[in-house]
C-alpha cells in the first residue's frame, strides 16, 4: 500500500480524484493506523469499520462516475466528535447520560459533508457535553495525546494528531478543541459564531459554541469550513453573511499583540518565547505587528465562565430520565427519578457547571445577565480594536496543563487554561491555532490568531503563509509509537 501517512487531506483528496488512490485504500490505511495507535490514544468512542469500508466503495463509485457534487475532500477518511448526531448512530456527547442514545436525525454539518463524499471512520471522545480543559472529563475515558499519553486530548484532535483521521469536526464551546490542538501539533479553526449550523450538535453552551475543524494544515481546515458553513434553515442563528473567500496579501497585514496576555502572571516563558518568535516570522513575511490593549480584559474570563455555566445548566436540564437517556428505574416518585437519574449519569465536573449555572442564573445573583452586559462591552471595545488591526496574535494557553493524573481541581484548571481561548467564545469571533514549535517538556506549542467577525479569510491567509514557510505542520509521522 502507498504511504499515505504524510499526506494532507487536500493532497489525499487530489490523489483520490485522480484515482491514484482508491477511497477504500484510504480507509484501510486509517484503520491500520488505528489498530496500532488506538490502544495507546483511545481517540475513538466508536469505530465504524464496516460502514467506513462500504461508504468508501459508494464514494468510489461516485468518483469513478465523475460526480460533480463531490467535494475536493471526497473519499478522505475523517472523524466526528461524538457530540455530532448521525441518524440512528449512537451519539453520547461524552456522557453516560446518553450512552444508549440513537438520535432520529443528523446534524446539518454531517449532511453537508456526506453530500460531498465524506467517509466517516467513527465518533471521537470529548469532554462530557464539551465542558472541560482538553477532553479529560469524557465519561468513557479520555483520548490521549500521541506525543505523550499522560495528557488527555479532545478525541477529534487526538485522531488527527495520531494520523488516524485526515480531518475531524468537534465542538468548540469552551475552547477545549483549540487547547487540545495546540498541544498536539495540529491546526484548528473555530469559525465566527453563526457561520456553521449547530443543528444536531449536542448543546452545552449555545452562545459560546461553534463547530470547529481540526486538520493537519490550516488549508485543510479552510477547505472543510467551506463545505460546512452557511445559512441553515434548521438553525436560525446561522448568519446570512457570506464569508469572504479571497485570501488577502500578507503585506500590510496588521496584527495586534495583546500585551496583557504575554505579561500575565504564570505565563510559561517557553510558550511565550515560541509564540513571539513565530510573530517575528510573520513580520518577516510582511505583516505589521504592534501591541494592543484588550477591552475590559479582566472581565472576559469571568463573563465567559458565567455564561458557560448558565447555558450548560439550562441546556442539560432536559436530561431528566424520562424520554431518552439514562433513567433510574428503581425509584418511587418523580423527584427521585430526576435526582437519581442525574446523580448517577452525570459526571462530577458537569455537576459543578450545572450548580454554578443555577446560581449564576438566579435572580438574586443575576451573574448571567451581568455577564451578557460585559459581553456587549467587550464586543463594542473590539469593534474599535479591529479598526486598527486585522487580528490578534496570542498563545493558546498560558502554560502546559497538568497531566491527567495530577489535576487538583478540574474546574479551576479549566478556568485558568481558558485565559486566552475565552475571548473568541465570548465575543463569537473566529480563531485559528497553528503549531509553532516544541515545549521543553516535548509537547508541541501553537499560537492563536483571533479575527474580527467573519474575518476567517485573513486568519487563514496568515496561518497558511506561516505554515508554508515553517513546514511544521506535518507532524504525525514524526511520532511513532
Amino acid at each position: 500500500m502507498k504511504n499515505l501517512e504524510s499526506l494532507t487531506a487536500l493532497e489525499l483528496g487530489e490523489l483520490i480524484r485522480r484515482r491514484a488512490v482508491s477511497c477504500e485504500e484510504a480507509v484501510r490505511h486509517c484503520l491500520e493506523v488505528m489498530e496500532r495507535r488506538e490502544p495507546r490514544i483511545s481517540a475513538f468512542l466508536e469505530i465504524s469499520r464496516e460502514k467506513a469500508l462500504s461508504d468508501a466503495k459508494e464514494v468510489q463509485k461516485r468518483v469513478d462516475a465523475d460526480d460533480q457534487t463531490l467535494s475536493p475532500l471526497a473519499g478522505v477518511p475523517m472523524a466526528l466528535s461524538d457530540s455530532i448526531c448521525i441518524r440512528d448512530l449512537k451519539t453520547t456527547g461524552g456522557s453516560r447520560m446518553l450512552q444508549n442514545f440513537h438520535p432520529p436525525y443528523s446534524a446539518t454539518v454531517w449532511e453537508r459533508l456526506k453530500t460531498g463524499g465524506a467517509v466517516l471512520l467513527g465518533k471521537t471522545a470529548l469532554d462530557e457535553f464539551g465542558m472541560g480543559v482538553s477532553g479529560e472529563t469524557c465519561a468513557f475515558g479520555p483520548a490521549r495525546n500521541v506525543w505523550d499519553n499522560r495528557w488527555a486530548l479532545d478525541g477529534s484532535v487526538a485522531a488527527v494528531a495520531g494520523g488516524e483521521a485526515f480531518y475531524a469536526l468537534g465542538s468548540d464551546g469552551t475552547g477545549a478543541l483549540r487547547r487540545s490542538a495546540a498541544m498536539a501539533g495540529v491546526s484548528s479553526l473555530r469559525p465566527t459564531w453563526g457561520t456553521v449550523s449547530r443543528y444536531g450538535v449536542v448543546s452545552g453552551t449555545s452562545s459560546l459554541e461553534q463547530v470547529g475543524v481540526v486538520g493537519r494544515t490550516i488549508s485543510d481546515c479552510a477547505q472543510v469550513l467551506a463545505l460546512i458553513r452557511g445559512r441553515d434553515h434548521r438553525d436560525s442563528t446561522t448568519s446570512q453573511v457570506q464569508l469572504a473567500d479571497e485570501r488577502s496579501s500578507m503585506q500590510e497585514m496588521k496584527i495586534g499583540l495583546p500585551d496583557c496576555y504575554f505579561h500575565q502572571e504564570g505565563m510559561d516563558p517557553c510558550i511565550k518565547e515560541r509564540v513571539l518568535s513565530a510573530a517575528k516570522q510573520l513580520e518577516g513575511l510582511g505583516a505589521v505587528l504592534f501591541p494592543v490593549e484588550l477591552p475590559i480584559v479582566d472581565l472576559i474570563l469571568p463573563a465567559y465562565f458565567a455564561i458557560a455555566c448558565g447555558e450548560a445548566s439550562s441546556n442539560l436540564a432536559r436530561y431528566d430520565g424520562i424520554r431518552y437517556g439514562y433513567s433510574a428505574n428503581d425509584v418511587e416518585n418523580l423527584q427521585e427519578l430526576y435526582i437519581q437519574s442525574r446523580s448517577r449519569a452525570l459526571g462530577n465536573q458537569i455537576k459543578k457547571y450545572i450548580l454554578l449555572g443555577n446560581l449564576f442564573l438566579s435572580e438574586k445573583e443575576n451573574c448571567y445577565n451581568k455577564a451578557l452586559q460585559v459581553r456587549e462591552l467587550v464586543v463594542q471595545g473590539l469593534d474599535n480594536l479591529f479598526d486598527r488591526c486585522d487580528m490578534i496574535l496570542s498563545p493558546v494557553v498560558p502554560s502546559i496543563p497538568l497531566p491527567m493524573e495530577e489535576k487538583p481541581s478540574q474546574l479551576l484548571e479549566c478556568y485558568r487554561q481558558s485565559a486566552f481561548t475565552a475571548l473568541a467564545n465570548l465575543a463569537g469571533l473566529p480563531a485559528v491555532t497553528v503549531p509553532c514549535g516544541y515545549h521543553s517538556e516535548g509537547l508541541p506549542i501553537s499560537f492563536q490568531l483571533i479575527g474580527k467577525p467573519y474575518g476567517e479569510g485573513k486568519l487563514l491567509t496568515v496561518a497558511d503563509a506561516y505554515q508554508k514557510t515553517d513546514g511544521f505542520s506535518k507532524t504525525s509521522g514524526e511520532v511513532e509509537a
Binding site: 444536531g200 436560525s236 439550562s314 436540564a317 443555577n358
Partner: protein
C-alpha cells in the same frame, strides 16, 4: 367603610396556526398521543427552535386590534423549570422584550363603560399534557400540545368587579375569534384564564397583596372565583389579618380556592435570553402589512350593519355572534336585494336553528345563495314570512333549493283578491261569535279572524291583503 376589588386577568390563547411555534409539526387538537412530535418539540439533544412567522403575524394582529404598541425588536427568553410535560426543561417565552405592550379594550357592563388597559401580549410555547392514571401509580405524557403557539394577554389591574371581568373576557374572546387567530375554546383549553385578585378600602390607593387564581374553566366560574376570593380577603383584613402572596387553584364544584403554593415556595424560573433564537426585528412594512389585512372587528360590523343596512341593534348583535354567522350574513346580504330580509332570516331562523340543533359555529354550513334567493322571494312577495321561515328551516336542515321547494309544495303567496275575498267571506260566515265580539269592540278578535283566514289559505295568504279585505268586509 366599603371595599372595592382590584383585579387583573391573564389570558392564554392557543393560536390556530397550521404548525407549531418552533418546529414544523402539525398544530392540531385531539390526535392520537405523540403522533405530532419531532426532535425539536420533544427537546432532543442538539435540536434547535426556528420561529414560525405566522405566529408573529397572529400576535401582531391581536396587538394591533387591541391598540398595542408593537416592539421594533422582540426577543425570546427561557423560563427554566423541571416538569415532565416540559421536555427541554425550559419554556421559550418572552420576558424582557414582549412583542406588544400598552393596549386597551373597552368594556360595557350594566353599570359602567370603561377601558381596561392591556399591559402586554407575548408569545410562548405550550407544554405537553399529563394524564395521571386513576388507580395505577403512573402518569402518561402526550407531547402533541408541546410547542403549540400561545399568546399570553396580560391586563392591568383595572377590573373592579366580576361583571367587568366577564365583559372583558367576552370582548377579548370575540375579537380573537374574528381575527381568526384562535378558536378560543375553554373546554378544549385553547383559552385559559388566570386571575390576580386584591381588594382595597374605597378611596384608598393601596390594594392588598394580590392572590393568583388558576384553573378556571368558564367565564361564569371567573365571576364566582373573583367574588369568593375578594370576600375571603375582606374577611381576613377586617379581622386584622394580612393577605399572603399565594397561588390558588379554583375548585368550582366546591366553590373555593385551594392553596397551591405560597410565596416562600414561589418558583425560581432562572430566566435567561434564549441563545438559540436571534432577536426578531419587526419593521414598519411588516406592521403595515398586518394592519392592512386586519379583518373588520365585530364592534365595527355591528355599527356598519345598523348604519348602512338599517338593521336593528339586537339583530346586529346576533349576526356577529360568531365569525361564521357574520360571514354567512354578509355573503347572503351581498347576494340578495334587501339585506334586512337576510338579517331577519339569519338572526331569526338560522340562529334559532343553530341553538336548537346545538350546531357549533365552525360546523355552520348553510348555502348563502339559497338563503339569498329565499330572502328575495319574501322581499318580492312571492311567499310570505311564515312560509319563508318554513323554507329557511328546510334549507338549514336539508339544503333544499328554495325555488324548487316552493314550487313543489305550492307555497307561493296567494295574492289574488278574489281568492282572498272568498276565504274571508267564508270565515266571516262561520265565525259569527268572533265577528260579534269584534263589532262589540274586542280588538283581539280581529287577530283571531286573520289567523282563521290564513289557515283556510293554508298559511300562504298575502298578510297585507288579508288584513285589508278583512277590514273592508268587517268595517265597511
Amino acid at each position: 367603610m366599603s371595599w372595592e376589588m382590584v383585579a387583573g386577568v391573564e389570558v392564554h390563547v392557543e393560536l390556530a396556526t397550521k404548525t407549531k411555534v418552533f418546529c414544523g409539526c402539525a398544530n392540531a387538537f385531539g390526535a392520537e398521543p405523540n403522533t405530532f412530535i419531532c426532535p425539536v418539540c420533544t427537546g432532543m439533544p442538539g435540536a434547535l427552535p426556528t420561529l414560525n412567522r405566522q405566529v408573529v403575524n397572529y400576535a401582531l394582529r391581536a396587538g394591533l386590534a387591541l391598540g398595542c404598541d408593537i416592539a421594533p425588536q422582540t426577543a425570546f427568553d427561557r423560563k427554566n423549570y423541571f416538569y415532565p410535560d416540559l421536555p427541554k426543561a425550559y419554556q421559550i417565552s418572552q420576558l424582557s422584550l414582549p412583542i406588544c405592550q400598552n393596549g386597551s379594550l373597552e368594556i360595557e357592563t350594566k353599570q359602567v363603560t370603561k377601558q381596561i388597559r392591556i399591559r402586554q401580549i407575548h408569545i410562548e410555547e405550550d407544554t405537553g399534557k399529563l394524564t395521571h392514571h386513576p388507580t395505577q401509580p403512573y402518569t402518561l405524557v402526550d407531547f402533541n400540545r408541546c410547542g403549540v403557539p400561545l399568546l399570553e394577554i396580560v391586563s392591568q389591574p383595572d377590573i373592579s368587579d366580576a361583571d367587568e371581568a366577564i365583559a372583558y373576557l367576552e370582548n377579548l374572546r370575540e375579537i380573537l375569534l374574528f381575527l381568526g387567530v384562535s378558536d378560543c375554546k375553554m373546554q378544549e383549553g385553547s383559552l385559559r384564564v388566570d386571575l390576580n385578585v386584591s381588594v382595597r378600602r374605597q378611596g384608598s390607593k393601596e390594594p392588598s397583596v394580590p392572590t393568583e387564581l388558576k384553573n378556571i374553566n368558564s367565564f361564569q366560574a371567573v365571576g364566582r372565583a373573583m367574588r369568593w376570593e375578594a370576600a375571603r380577603q375582606i374577611q381576613v383584613l377586617e379581622a386584622g389579618g394580612k393577605i399572603q402572596r399565594e397561588t390558588r387553584r379554583w375548585d368550582d364544584a366546591n366553590n373555593r380556592g385551594i392553596v397551591l403554593r405560597s410565596k416562600e415556595e414561589a418558583e425560581q424560573y432562572r430566566y435567561m435570553p434564549e441563545p438559540d433564537l436571534p432577536v426578531l426585528v419587526i419593521d414598519h412594512g411588516w406592521i403595515e402589512r398586518v394592519q392592512r389585512e386586519l379583518p373588520e372587528l365585530p364592534r365595527e360590523k355591528r355599527i356598519r350593519y345598523q348604519k348602512e343596512m338599517g338593521i336593528s341593534h339586537q339583530q346586529a348583535c346576533t349576526l356577529t355572534g360568531s365569525p361564521q354567522m357574520a360571514a354567512l350574513f354578509e355573503q347572503t346580504a351581498a347576494l340578495c336585494r334587501n339585506p334586512r330580509e337576510a338579517a331577519h332570516l339569519i338572526a331569526g331562523e338560522v340562529a334559532r336553528l343553530c341553538t336548537e340543533t346545538a350546531t357549533r359555529p365552525e360546523d355552520l354550513k348553510v348555502d348563502a345563495k339559497k338563503l339569498a334567493a329565499l330572502a328575495d322571494m319574501i322581499d318580492s312577495g312571492r311567499i310570505n314570512r311564515t312560509v319563508g321561515k318554513e323554507v329557511a328551516e328546510r334549507i338549514f336542515r336539508l339544503n333544499v333549493d328554495p325555488e324548487t321547494y316552493v314550487a313543489e309544495h305550492g307555497l307561493a303567496m296567494v295574492s289574488d283578491p278574489n281568492v282572498v275575498e272568498a276565504a274571508v267571506r267564508r270565515v266571516l260566515r262561520e265565525q259569527t261569535k268572533s265577528v260579534a265580539d269584534y263589532r262589540n269592540g274586542k280588538e283581539r278578535a280581529f287577530g283571531y279572524l286573520v289567523g282563521q283566514v290564513m289557515k283556510s289559505l293554508k298559511g300562504k295568504g298575502d298578510p297585507a291583503l288579508v288584513h285589508r279585505v278583512l277590514h273592508q268586509l268587517l268595517d265597511g
